[in-house]
Symmetry: C2
Subunit: 356 residues, 2 copies
Amino acid sequence: MKKHNFSAGPAILPASVIQEAAQGILDFNGSGLSILEVSHRGAAFMAVMDEAIELVKELLDLPADYEVMFLSGGASTQFFMAPMNLIDESDTACYVDTGTWASKAIKEAKAFGKIEVLASSKADNYTHIPQGFDVPSYAKYLHLTSNNTIYGTQYHWWPDTQVPIVCDMSSDIFSRPVDISRFGLIYAGAQKNMGAAGVTLVVVKKDLLGTVHRHLPAMLDYRLHIENGSMYNTPPVYAVYIAMLTMRWIKANGGMRQMEQLNQRKAQLLYDEIDANPCFIGTTRKEDRSLMNVTFLAAKPEWEQPFLDACKAAGCVDLKGHRSVGGFRASIYNAMPLEGVQALVDVMREFAKREQ
Amino acid sequence: MKKHNFSAGPAILPASVIQEAAQGILDFNGSGLSILEVSHRGAAFMAVMDEAIELVKELLDLPADYEVMFLSGGASTQFFMAPMNLIDESDTACYVDTGTWASKAIKEAKAFGKIEVLASSKADNYTHIPQGFDVPSYAKYLHLTSNNTIYGTQYHWWPDTQVPIVCDMSSDIFSRPVDISRFGLIYAGAQKNMGAAGVTLVVVKKDLLGTVHRHLPAMLDYRLHIENGSMYNTPPVYAVYIAMLTMRWIKANGGMRQMEQLNQRKAQLLYDEIDANPCFIGTTRKEDRSLMNVTFLAAKPEWEQPFLDACKAAGCVDLKGHRSVGGFRASIYNAMPLEGVQALVDVMREFAKREQ
């Protein structure tokens, strides 16, 4: 039976990427060697890294004053590495608290400067994106979490400010066009929209770097990674390869505009069903609904397990909501085809027929 | 033509591991999903992480007061993370400088405490392991690099000291039995003897942790990773899987004693040829020769390229020495079979017949 993978991350990859990924393990580019065992300084892998960096530039339409890095350690490492590289102890950075990951970013940043939390939706269990906050002009940056995987909310607007935005885009990178000039730094773990776990994309506007006075260990200094083309030390070779293959797939499938259109169609299909189906209730404010992670509850708690069972029977897997929210979460990243969402909607309709 | 992969790292993997690694990409444990796209919190991957940790404990014969972590960022991250977790600014740690990686470790450590370099073989271009140094009892640890990939030297003894040894074993982990009670902390990037690039093994004696007073970002705090079973954030799933498969292979092939015997036979075969063959010259002091990275020069510089060409024609690849040493380097890690080394020795003999 075909599986429809709704995992929040590591998450579904395009079927063609999985085939190429397996082929590269058995024989990388006809070299007679596996990509797992070739030198990262060899021409074959250098070409992969170069193409990965070029694809980021192309997909994000990056101006020349931005740099691209592929690093290790996940977004959780960026939570402290970004402030460490961008602010001194006496500087102020502003944050908006929209969920678990945003609040972890706030906690980690506090060791490196003055952190002001401009707004939070915590009191409402993060069911919406706060609005109406002002960004003080003395802030060195404003940190946002563009999509909140656990709570199913997403920014569909950006604050009107001259302060550079630092943005955790782990769960919606490459899912829609973004005006990059609004951002000073973007980071994203690969394992949702751009590949497998093990590599993190960082994009930074060059002139933000080199202003801090603290000691930076080599591996925590963005400038060193930029100078070395993300090859200061052995990079996570295979994870970079999968990211490159995934970005190639995004490009071949129409780039970010096409991704956005498909993502809107998929999300609309699912949210329409949630709103129409008496067995289910959406958990987030409608205007802040995520196109990536669709969170909803069973109208009666006793329906929760039977619905998950019905999903499983139809091949729809990993739909259990995060423990802090409960209910269900359907993660429908770029690689989830419309048929996958339709399969889930079909289960919801069947379930309603049976239970009503 | 069969390739014999002498790459220094990322390096040769057992053929059976490569087959399983590809299978896991296409269908992980019969789940109908790729290991690249399953949740790291799911039972299937949790079992992989648990088995990987158990295999480390078994292969290293770890006492109960040691902990195992799988982290990101390579040994280069451990260069600063180890001192950050083990010494305060007023503490002293001692280092021995045996090459490029040792000296990078020294440089990174200096930001976190008083660093004493007890001995260095730099003046001799790192062609031997320094001896006859005393380790002061006030040192919180002694840092060694057990095998020096670039220079082809390896410790075949350990300093007689009560001070805990912190050891970078990136290029000889699991290649021979080690009396773990001599060590306080061991770290190793996976991409030489235990898998593919993208994950780093850290083994630590628990009582060394929790003594420092500085702020540690979450991702840089060993204790947090231990508490969370290396799952504080999304781990590098696939790299952990390959490490687990490689350790399974080591165990199935007789464990560390068997690895050591095979590694000794392979190294002996190659060093004997270097010593007997008039076309080649070994670069390191004989008693410090590495069983992992065999470095040698052509007796006449004009032989260098023709010999590399002859190797390539015989399927022996990635034999060029590191740019800081020149000549040749044959990396013959656990996964290199005796036939691979024999193939290289055959090329050396043919070359001598032709050129002499």
